[in-house]
């Protein structure tokens, strides 16, 4: 089933507009409020997450193979859509009409939430060029950002986990004091046996469920502003690419558990106030996922051709934060290194002069 949002007044294809957050008709300017629209993909089905057990039961089954054979046809030009089996929204490769594959967004594959794009393609391109120009480590010809091959707006599937943890931590903490007495310099170290038992809830920790996306890059793209986390509706996808999840929430357990454990320990460390040294001796952290929401989060992908190699960058489509592995210019690095070394050397000399009263060379 292909969903194409047609303008009720002129019949043209409508796209999601980042500036207004409304469904927008580019030919006649008609706008429609998405929040008031019915979810065409879901029809009568309920998209909410429900209880965790219910959700787990829903999402652990894999239904990809069912969809792989289905062909989709563009309603505008009749062309057959060429797409991989994970795509849930795309544009027709012949007439550029936004197409949403409704049957891939239904039932256990239905996203419950979405953060719509807030940054338009033009703004994304401009911001990316500015970002490239600002970095002093990049080669000069890369900075111009004139070989940008493609910019793609894609809704990446994420699971937003709500975790409940109970952690008991024993630590040896120290307070260190230095003073001098007579001819001696004395270091006094006081040891404390510190214990914490914490009961914590972490809300909506995002973990990407797409096999194509680099996990580290996705983690660095955070945070997302959850004030703009809306109930899912297909029009948000109009004009963008979207994919369904490769990993179920269960598949992502090891990742979220590791992360929650680190967060719990970070929190515990923060509660140990006034110590100079903190060594955790033993820990017992129990955790339980309370909810996992399937959400689509907006990401701009930049593909950049530079010296016969592709460099990929991603941008948080909501906040504009850019992550990627840019080519580093060794020449620039060396120049900056030498410059900083010389400046710091003279600063050290200046400090020595101010203290000693003499320039010593």
């Amino acid at each position: 089933m292909v969903i194409q949002h047609k303008c009720p007044s002129c019949g043209a294809d409508m796209k999601f507009d980042t500036a207004s957050g409304l469904l927008h008709c580019e030919s006649c300017g008609y706008e429609e409020n998405i929040k008031q629209m019915e979810n065409q993909a879901e029809a009568s089905e309920n998209a909410s997450a429900g209880s965790y057990d219910e959700f787990l039961a829903k999402t652990s089954r894999n239904t990809y193979s069912d969809n792989s054979a289905i062909q989709y046809q563009c309603k505008n030009c009749g062309a057959v859509l060429i797409t991989d089996e994970l795509t849930t929204a795309t544009t027709c490769s012949f007439c550029d009409a936004p197409m949403i594959l409704g049957d891939r967004l239904r039932g256990e594959l239905a996203p419950s939430k979405v953060i719509p794009f807030k940054i338009s393609k033009e703004e994304a391109e401009k911001a990316f060029k500015k970002w490239c120009g600002k970095s002093i480590l990049l080669p000069r010809d890369f900075k111009k950002a004139n070989r940008l091959k493609s910019i793609t707006g894609i809704y990446v599937p994420f699971w937003l986990f709500t975790m409940h943890t109970r952690g008991e931590v024993n630590a040896e903490c120290t307070k260190v004091r230095h003073y001098s007495k007579g001819d001696y310099d004395i270091t006094e170290t006081k040891y404390f046996d510190v214990y914490r038992d914490v009961d914590l809830h972490f809300d909506k920790i995002p973990v990407d469920a797409s096999i194509k996306m680099d996990d580290k890059m996705m983690d660095k793209l955070e945070p997302f502003n959850y004030n703009e986390l809306y109930d899912f509706n297909t029009p948000y996808l109009a004009g963008y690419l979207a994919e369904k999840y490769d990993y179920t929430d269960k598949d992502l357990y090891p990742r979220i558990e590791k992360r929650t454990e680190n967060y719990t320990l970070d929190f515990v460390r923060q509660t140990m106030i006034g110590y100079d040294g903190k060594i955790i001796l033993n820990q017992n952290i129990q955790m339980k996922p309370e909810d996992a929401i399937y959400a689509l989060l907006p990401i701009w992908m930049f593909c950049y051709d530079y010296q016969h190699a592709e460099h990929n960058f991603v941008m948080n489509g909501q906040t504009g934060k850019i992550i990627g592995k840019p080519p580093i210019s060794k020449k620039n690095c060396a120049a900056i290194f030498v410059a900083i070394a010389i400046i710091s050397f003279f600063l050290i000399k200046l400090i020595a002069y101010m203290i000693g009263g003499v320039w010593v060379w």
Binding site: S135, I136, L137, S180, D183, Y184, D185, I186, T187, E188, T189, K190, Y191, F192, D193, V194, Y195, R196, D197, V198, D199, L200, H201, F202, D203, I205, D219, K220, L221, E222, P223, Y263, T264, D266, F267, Q270, T271, M272, K321, I322, I323, G324, K325, P326, I328, C333, I336, F337, V338, I340, A341, S344, F345, I348, A352, I355, G356, G357, V358, V360
Partner: protein, 272 residues
């Protein structure tokens, strides 16, 4: 005729008067008295050539004009003649000799130059001693004299007397310019350490820049914690024990010998 003669005489008188006035006016531009000639280099062994001696005199005078400190040099091989030490201990001889030399220097110049440093080299005994008097007693403390001595020691070993003397003037002047209470020999003034620190700073900054060039993680536990719903259930902080680590403060003084405490001078030196 008589009238003419009288006129002639009066002309001479006027000319004389004028010449006196002119001469007295010129005298305003001529120094009243040339600056006193001070001998600062005393080479009793003739190890320095006259030309070298003159060069050192000029250098010492130049630094005297700069700092108002006299940097004196004595080279001798007949210490016993001047020795105040009846035991014949020639190591202390050099020190005592310096003090005695200083006193005779003050007598010669009627106490006009109380701020002086002396490098005394006993060529026979291969012993050198650097000491300071007046303001230079405080501006150059024992530690600083040790530093001066260490700087000239390599040249002393090579018997390169002219370089020793030149270097002594430079070093003694340089160390006398440090603020009081600063140890110019501390690691902080070591140029290699300074370069090392500068390189480490640059290395750390560039590494951070490279690591962060692709964007950095900006979320933490506090980003996702639900504060209304999270709490510390139980906690305790029990004091267990205290450990104390003592280190004796080391003085930076490892030269062969050093100056006498609380005496008329400060100084440092040793065998070379």
């Amino acid at each position: 005729m008589v009238k003419i003669t009288r006129n002639y005489k009066s002309y001479i008188r006027i000319l004389l008067l004028l010449s006196i006035i002119v001469a007295s006016m010129f005298s305003l531009f001529v120094p009243v008295k040339a600056s006193e000639k001070v001998d600062r280099v005393y080479d009793y062994t003739n190890t320095l050539s006259d030309k070298q001696e003159q060069e050192l005199e000029d250098l010492a005078e130049k630094y005297y004009n700069k700092s108002n400190y006299n940097f004196l040099i004595v080279i001798t091989d007949t210490l016993s003649e001047y020795s105040y030490d009846s035991s014949g201990n020639s190591d202390t001889d050099c020190e005592l000799y310096s003090v005695a030399f200083q006193e005779s220097f003050q007598e010669t110049y009627e106490q006009k130059y109380p701020n002086c440093a002396i490098l005394a080299i006993d060529i026979k005994n291969r012993y050198a001693y650097v000491s300071g008097y007046g303001e230079l007693k405080t501006k150059l403390d024992d530690n600083r004299y040790d530093l001066v001595y260490k700087k000239i020691k390599p040249q002393l070993k090579e018997n390169n007397w002219f370089s020793v003397c030149k270097n002594y003037i430079y070093q003694a002047y340089n160390y006398s310019q440090f603020n009081n209470g600063i140890d110019p020999g501390s690691l902080f003034y070591n140029i290699f350490l300074q370069i090392g620190i500068a390189l480490i700073i640059a290395g750390v900054i560039i590494t951070v820049l490279i690591i962060n060039s692709g964007g950095k993680m900006t979320v933490s536990a506090m980003t996702y914690i639900n504060e209304n719903n999270s709490r510390i259930v139980a906690q305790h902080d029990h004091y267990v024990r205290t450990s104390i680590h003592k280190t004796r403060r080391t003085s930076n003084n490892d030269s062969d010998s050093s100056g006498s405490g609380g005496s008329s001078h400060s100084g440092g030196g040793g065998h070379f």
